[in-house]
């Protein structure tokens, strides 16, 4: 399976952090989006099948992105990377179809474990 990755976060720093945390031996194409709207448009064009998604964003927040993706069945693999780690929020994103929830700032080891768990790596 050929994989392509989309990183969606309004913060340039956060996007770089996620990009840098991706496993070195992971051969994927990486694109970025700086808000939820951009991400939805790119997912619609089937640019990526793995999405790393932030929750707190202007324009369209992460929760709305998840809802839309679920509705349009656009999501293949969504991993939420968020600063808001209250248990209620974690429950909500799982219900909306996210595979996993990673706390910010992202920990590379945890990220690669999740990728392994779902056979993406």
């Amino acid at each position: 399976m050929s994989l392509s990755v989309l990183i969606c976060d309004d913060s340039a720093l956060a996007r770089k952090q996620v990009k840098k945390s991706l496993p070195d031996n992971w051969d994927v194409e990486v694109r970025v989006a700086s808000n939820g709207l951009e991400a939805i448009n790119m997912m619609r064009e089937q640019i990526a099948n793995v999405l790393f998604l932030d929750l707190t964003m202007p324009e369209l927040d992460g929760i709305s992105v998840l809802e839309l993706l679920k509705l349009k069945r656009l999501a293949e693999y969504v991993i939420v990377i968020s600063a808001d780690i209250q248990p209620e929020m974690q429950k909500r994103v799982t219900e909306l179809g996210a595979l996993a929830f990673i706390q910010k700032p992202v920990n590379p080891e945890k990220l690669s474990n999740i990728l392994k768990e779902y056979g993406l790596l």
């Binding site: 913060s11 720093l13 956060a14 780690i85 209250q86 248990p87 910010k104 700032p105």
Partner: protein, 204 residues
């Protein structure tokens, strides 16, 4: 006049650090207070000491507000003050939020207690990320319904010209409580925090 500007990259970096700190703080607060704490996306800007009283007047002028301050200082010259601002009609549930028995503590003590909790949980979350350690002074009531914030600030002459201001608002919807937090990092401490931000930016 000292020329300090914050680049877009630095602002973005600080915003991300603050988002994460807020996330950690709200998670801890939610566990301690056993209620959901909502924090809004922070607003970051540079303010001059000359315009600070006016800013307060515009934002809180007509309201019955109480202002508390808590100083902090960390390594590498990172220091400043956090100001917590409470509107009168939002103070009645604080004892309940904190889990105090009714009439056990005075209103001023409730305010100092909750201020300290909000300030320290947030700043600890920030400090962890920049591998710093922060110490705090005790929170103090600066102004209350009797003396306005504007009056209080006008009486002061500041020894700094610019401060980095981060505005955060807290909401505890279960208890109809909200308050504003202003993190102010004045003068040379801005340059010190800029250095920290540049280091982080270099890493990525």
């Amino acid at each position: 006049m000292i020329e300090i500007t914050i680049t877009e990259e630095q602002r973005d970096c600080l915003q991300e650090l603050i988002n994460v700190a807020m996330g950690r703080a709200s998670d801890k607060l939610a566990r301690y207070l056993q209620t959901f704490v909502h924090l809004q996306v922070p607003h970051i800007e540079l303010v001059s000491s000359a315009e600070l009283p006016q800013t307060f007047a515009e934002t809180y002028g007509d309201d019955n507000v109480t202002l508390l301050s808590q100083g902090f200082y960390g390594q590498d010259g990172i220091s400043g003050e956090t100001l917590l601002i409470y509107r009168a009609d939002h103070t009645k549930n604080i004892a309940k939020i904190l889990g105090y028995a009714p009439d056990e503590v005075s209103e001023m003590e409730q305010l100092t207690d909750i201020s300290s909790i909000l300030t320290t949980t947030f700043l600890n979350g920030l400090a962890e990320q920049i591998e710093n350690q922060i110490a705090y002074s005790a929170p103090r009531v600066i102004s209350s319904r009797e003396t306005s914030i504007e009056r209080h600030l006008q009486d002061l002459s500041f020894n700094w010209e610019l401060a980095l201001k981060v505005a955060i608002s807290y909401q505890v919807t279960d208890y109809e409580f909200n308050c504003d937090m202003l993190l102010l990092i004045p003068g040379v401490a801005i340059e010190n925090i800029q250095q920290v931000l540049n280091q982080i930016l270099e890493e990525y």
